[in-house]
Each structure stands twice: as C-alpha cells, then as structure tokens.
C-alpha cells in the first residue's frame, strides 16, 4: 500500500483563501498541529482532505512572530486545534473567537485550563456542575448545565482534566517504545492507535508491510470494532434502562474480549503490532472461528430484539439531533457523522492495511438522532463480522514482518478508522532516529466538539441517553 499524500508549503497570508477554496470544492480540514524542527523554528501543519478520491494534503506554514490568522470562523473545527497550539506551543491566532485556554494554562501555578463559561444573563437560572467524579465507573470530566428544572438552556463540557501530555511523552522514545505508548493513548482503541502509529512510521521509513501482516492487522482491528460496538450497545441499553439488554450487551462484549485474549494473548489485543508488521508469529487457535460464528448469531439476535423494543426506540428517536451542517462544520467523524448523512469512511476512501482487497460497506443514516447513530453502529457491527468471515479463510502465508528503520528527519502520516471515527498519527523522526514529535488526532477530540450542539435547549432526561448514543472516550480526547 502506498501512502498518497501531497505536501504543500504555504504562506501565512494565503491560508484563509486556501481554506475557503477547499471548502468551496467540497473538501474538509482534518487537523492542525505545531512542531519545532529546531529550538527557534516552529512550523504549523494543516491536514486537509479534499473531495473524495483525492489524496490528503499537508500544508506547512511558518508563523510570523509566533502568530497566524485564525481560521476558526471559516472552518470551525480548527478552533480547538488552534487553542491547543496556543496552550502547548505559545502561538497566537489572530481573530480567534474563543481565545481562552483549552488544554492547560501554564500561567497559573497548577497547569489546568480555567473554566470559562458564557455569561448567563438571568440570575434565576442555575449552573449545575456534574463531575468530574461522576456517579458510575466512568471517566473524569466535568459537565456544566445552565438549567431550569428539566430544561437545559446551555451546556458546557469541561474536558482535559485527564490531559496526560501523551504527545510530549512520545518525544525521545524509540519507535518500538512509541508503539507501546501509542497503544495506551486510548485503552479501548489500542489496536487502532497502534495501527495508525505503525503506518505513520512505515510511511516515514518507506517500507512495505507483508500481506499476511496487513491481513492480521485488519483482523484485530475489526475484532476491536466488534467489542467496542457491543460495549456501546450495553451502555445504550443501560441509559435507556433496559436492564437485561444492558446485561446481555456487556456479556457479549466480554465474550468478544475473551475471544480477543485467546487469539492474541491480550484482551485488548496489545503487543501484536509493531512498525514493519506483527511482533511475532500469530496463529488462529483451533475452534476459534466457530466461537466467533456463535458470537455472531447471539449478536444478531440481540440487535434484532433491541430494534423491536419500543421503550428503547422511543427514547432514541429524535433525541440529540445533530444536524448535518453542524456535523460537517464541527468535524464530527465516524458513526456519528455517518448518522447525520456525511458519507466518509477511511477504510473505503483512503484504504490502509488490507482494506484495499475488501469491500467495506458504509452504512448511512439521515436523521442524525440517537437512533440513527445506534442503527449505523449496528450495521457496522454486523459488517465487521462479515469482514472477519471473509478474511479468516484467506489469510496469506509468508513473513509477518519486515525491517523498518525510519531515517532521521523523516515524516510519516498514518491513519485508521477506529470504532469512533477517523484517527490520524503524524510522526516526525528526530536526527538521532528517535521520535521528535508525534501528533495524535483522535476521533473523540473531534466528536466532543460537536456534542454540545445536540444538548443545548434539550432536557435533562435525554442527556444521559444522548451522551451514551455518542459513545465517546475522554482519554482519547484529552490524551
């Protein structure tokens, strides 16, 4: 698989018009990040996805006096990336509509971004702060509601309390250790993160991964999609108070994880991938495909039963509608954007691993409500089983690994379609062969930005269901 990428060097002054041109042609911005090629030389890179079928574009821009024009009013999804660059690299973006810190604020003693709420002009309305320690076994994040009784007037999520500085942690590591770290950026997306990272390093090294390794990569990636989607349905049934539905969803997820453990030796399928292919020779245990088929039958029955339960459907239909325009502008990705009518899937549009020899069905929905998101995920879940069934009998023989040395000063871009959406890794290798800069754009970072627009002016009862229907992680967003 050859990575198709177009590198462009742009002037700071040409940015705005370039973005407008991209949007007018039907393309979309994907991410932006800054990196220091030298202690006093900083460069900002923008990743743009032009219309379907064309390769990615990487725009390299040098800030003038550590400042660049803000593109947030043209491409709102860039707003968070610009704020992140402000916080972590000290750049400033002229004309940014929300210039307050997003990730951390180094100016006060304990680096943590301060809470900035919109001014609420009504002394009678109340702000409720929910979290960061929430009621169940959940990740930490604080959610602020401006509410009156049941009605939510405004909603502000306060994330980045879990910011571990993972991108900084990558710096100085060897590419092998980088893989170990990448698996732990988002624990339930270990395979996808390792995959994107390895592909980035392989792109930088210019090496070709053997077919067997690429097929195994698809195998574990789809298995990860299966257990993540089953977890999602368990959580959705829990939010809609379907007790047996929740128990069954969680039990099926457990069975999937146990299958993963039997296949790879680790329930989250860690320690399988490395730059260049697989870490060791992998073998499908005897009887494993039959167990997978049995699981598939149970999953089909479970999903069918869910679709027949009126109380569950009642709570999902018209809940948390994400309009298509908002999804596009805010950069929503994965099943969430597909449920709002945006037809994008990295496996089909920019195939990687062994996806070029498979046809990946991309389910789509138009209504953008919680039910649409659940339906899209259900279709993806069954499609994953189909892909595994197709792939298992035709696993190639041959080597599972090639040597992969990324030359000093090289750059690589890798991506993967995770269960939550598109994931990008941009890897810069330093002069000593160790990692100099790794940028992680996780799908949850994009989707959390879109989520508040489905909560404003809805009600409290729907909030938990809506949040469960998005199915995001905070670790992936905060990194």
């Amino acid at each position: 698989m050859s990575v198709r990428l177009q590198m462009l060097v742009l002037d700071a002054a040409a940015l705005e018009s370039r973005v407008e041109q991209l949007l007018a042609d039907g393309g979309r911005m994907q991410m932006a990040y800054a990196w220091r090629s030298a202690p006093d030389a900083i460069e900002v890179r923008y990743l743009a996805a032009p219309a379907a079928g064309q390769p990615f574009e990487v725009w390299c821009v040098r800030p003038v006096d550590d400042a660049l024009p803000s593109l947030a009013t043209r491409a709102p999804l860039l707003g968070w990336y610009e704020r992140e660059m402000q916080d972590l690299h000290g750049l400033s973006f002229r004309g940014h509509p929300e210039p307050h810190p997003l990730v951390i604020d180094r100016s006060n003693g304990m680096p943590r971004a301060p809470l900035v709420l919109p001014e609420a002009v009504d002394p009678q309305a109340q702000w409720l702060g929910f979290g960061p320690v929430r009621a169940d076994v959940m990740e930490s994040g604080q959610f602020l509601f401006l509410y009156i009784g049941e009605a939510i007037v405004h909603y502000v999520p306060r994330l980045f309390l879990k910011h571990r500085g993972m991108e900084a942690r990558f710096e100085g590591l060897s590419p092998t250790h980088g893989c170990v770290l990448a698996e732990r950026v988002s624990g339930v997306g270990s395979v996808a993160h390792a995959l994107a990272y390895c592909q980035a390093v392989e792109h930088a090294a210019g090496c070709e991964v053997p077919r067997r390794a690429r097929q195994w990569r698809v195998l574990v990636a789809e298995l990860e999609r299966i257990y993540n989607h089953l977890h999602y349905f368990g959580a959705l049934a829990d939010a809609t108070t379907l007790k047996v539905g929740q128990a069954e969803g969680r039990l099926l997820e457990e069975r999937a994880k146990q299958l993963a453990g039997q296949l790879t030796g680790q329930r989250f399928m860690r320690n399988v991938l490395c730059p260049g292919g697989l870490r060791r020779e992998m073998v499908v245990p005897p009887g494993w495909p039959e167990h997978l088929l049995a699981l598939r039958k149970e999953v089909e029955g479970y999903l069918a039963q869910l679709e027949r339960t009126t109380s569950y459907l009642d709570r999902l239909i018209t809940t948390g509608v994400l309009p298509r325009e908002v999804a596009f502008d805010q950069g929503a990705t994965g099943p969430i954007e597909r449920a709002s009518g945006l037809d994008r899937d990295l496996r089909r549009d920019h195939p990687y691993a062994a996806y070029d020899e498979l046809t990946v069905p991309v389910p789509l929905a138009e209504s953008g409500d919680a039910h649409a998101r659940a339906k899209v995920r259900a279709a993806e879940l069954l499609a994953s089983f189909d892909l595994l069934e197709i792939l298992l009998p035709r696993l190639a023989t041959g080597p599972c690994r090639v040597a992969c040395e990324a030359p000093p000063g090289s750059f690589g871009l890798g991506w993967a379609e995770t269960p939550r959406g598109s994931l990008y890794y941009a890897v810069h290798v330093g002069p000593d062969g160790a990692l100099a800069r790794v940028k992680v754009k996780s799908p949850s970072f994009s989707n959390w930005r879109a989520f508040p627009f489905t909560v404003h002016q809805t009600n409290m009862m729907d909030y938990a269901i809506n949040e469960a229907s998005f199915g995001l992680t905070i670790a992936g967003c905060d990194r």
Partner: protein, 268 residues
C-alpha cells in the same frame, strides 16, 4: 418488557464459578506478567533493561538481571521477546495484587522462606461480606475503566461477592483509583478521599496508579498514588483483567490470601 425477561431467563446462568472454581477465570489464552526463571543471563547483556519502556528492570554490575519491579511493568512483552538467554519467559500469572509495595519487586536473592503474614491492621468485620467502592479516574487511558465496568457484567457479576460501586464517596468504604493522577484530577481525587467517612481504604488499580506506567512523568501527569494517598492494595497490570481485580478485592477483604511475595508466587 416480558420479552426481555424471558430472553434473559432463557439464556441461563452466565456467571463464572470463579473464584471458587480456580480454572473458570475466563482468561484462557492470555499472557501474564513476565516470569523470571533461573539466572541464565549472558555477560554484559542489557537488552531487557533497554527494551523496557518503564525502566522496570535493573541490572547488576555483571549486566545480569538484578531486580524486576512488577509495579512498573505494563506487560508489553518486549523484555521477553528480546531476552536471548531465557531468563525472562512469558508468564501465566496476572493476579498481582499485594498489600506492600515492596512485594511487587522481584530481586535475585529473596528470602527463601515465604514470609509470615501478620497484618498490621485487619479489615473491619462488617466489610468482609459487603464492601462499597468509589472509583475515581485520575487520568487513565480508559483501559482500566473498561475492565472495571466489566466487573458488573453477567460473567464476573461482582454483586454476588457483596461488592458494589457507589455513586457518592459518602457511602464508600474503598477508594479505587486508576490513572497517574494528572494535575487536573489531583484536587478532585483528594476531595473524594476527604469526603469519605472513616474507616476508609485505597486500592491502586493498574500500573499507572501504582507507579505512573508509561504515561507518567510529563508536565501534567503524576507518578501514581505513591505519596498522594495511603494505599492499602497495589494492583499492577495494563490493564489488570477483571479476574485479577476481583482477586485483589477479595485479598483486601481477607477472603483470599496474598499470593505474591517478593515478586514471586507463593501458593498456600
């Protein structure tokens, strides 16, 4: 709803017999923490120490493996894969919950006798059959949360052991912490600890909470619970699987004996 109820009943019992049935833990096929065999190290080979991403391995002057701190081990298997001599082997043990941090440190010359277990303080009788746990995520990768959420699925079914997760620290006996303690979550974690009534205990779940793991030591990420809270049980693993978490909880409740001493497994 009768449809769902009948469906659930029709599927029978899915709960495992573990821990009563020692073989039914559900982790068949998974690789445990690396086990250290006989000292077969070659001279001046420091491949395992170099391979370890968390510096869990120290070598002696001959370049032989001297100590392996399981509290820092993320079970990445790099040391096992790179060891040419066979000192480090893939292990089958994944339940590494201990009361003292030093018990996670394997060293070359241990005390040959398993130490006598004399506990400084016993857990209150009232907790043995019923424990309420408040979980706080202090900056994890979500892997530990995934395994903790699995504790209440029909397979593990934590409720049958009398252990429950509560919504409020006011009603909790045990504070179960995952993550490295980021600067953002430092204050809420301490607030949760302060909010718990006495007697209260702490369980550090996952290598990140025990020692910071691979994520620790950055500008915003701490080194786990050491020095932050008084920890009663240390449970490494990345992440520890639900069976290991159950075993650690039962050990805290003195319903199961501690199996790991000095980094070695001692069956009683």
């Amino acid at each position: 709803m009768p449809l769902w109820t009948l469906r659930g009943l029709g599927q029978g019992k899915a709960t495992t017999g573990w821990p009563k049935d020692p073989a039914a833990h559900g982790q068949q096929g998974t690789i445990g923490m690396p086990s250290v065999g006989a000292d077969r190290c070659t001279e001046d080979c420091h491949r395992c120490a170099d391979a370890c991403p968390t510096q869990a391995i120290t070598l002696d002057t001959r370049g032989h493996l001297e100590t392996l701190d399981y509290g820092r081990c993320v079970n990445c298997q790099l040391c096992v894969e790179t060891c040419p001599a066979g000192t480090l082997q893939p292990g089958s043990e994944w339940a590494f919950g201990v009361r003292d941090r030093v018990d996670l440190q394997w060293s070359l010359d241990p005390d040959p006798r398993p130490p006598e277990v004399r506990l400084a303080s016993h857990i209150e009788r009232s907790f043995r059959g019923s424990l309420h746990v408040r979980h706080v995520d202090a900056g994890s990768c979500n892997g530990c949360e995934s395994e903790l959420q699995a504790l209440n699925n029909p397979f593990y079914n934590l409720h049958r052991l009398g252990i429950f997760f509560t919504a409020s620290p006011r009603a909790a006996d045990l504070l179960l912490v995952t993550g490295t303690v980021t600067t953002g979550m430092h204050e809420p974690l301490l607030a949760a600890w302060e909010a718990m009534p006495e007697p209260k205990r702490v369980l550090a779940c996952g290598t990140c909470a025990v020692s910071g793991g691979v994520c620790g030591g950055t500008e915003t990420s701490g080194h786990g619970l050491e020095g932050v809270l008084p920890v009663d049980v240390w449970l490494p693993g990345c992440p520890p699987n639900p069976a290991a978490i159950i075993e650690a909880l039962l050990m805290l409740l003195e319903r199961k004996p501690q199996r790991i001493h000095g980094g070695r497994v001692h069956e009683r």
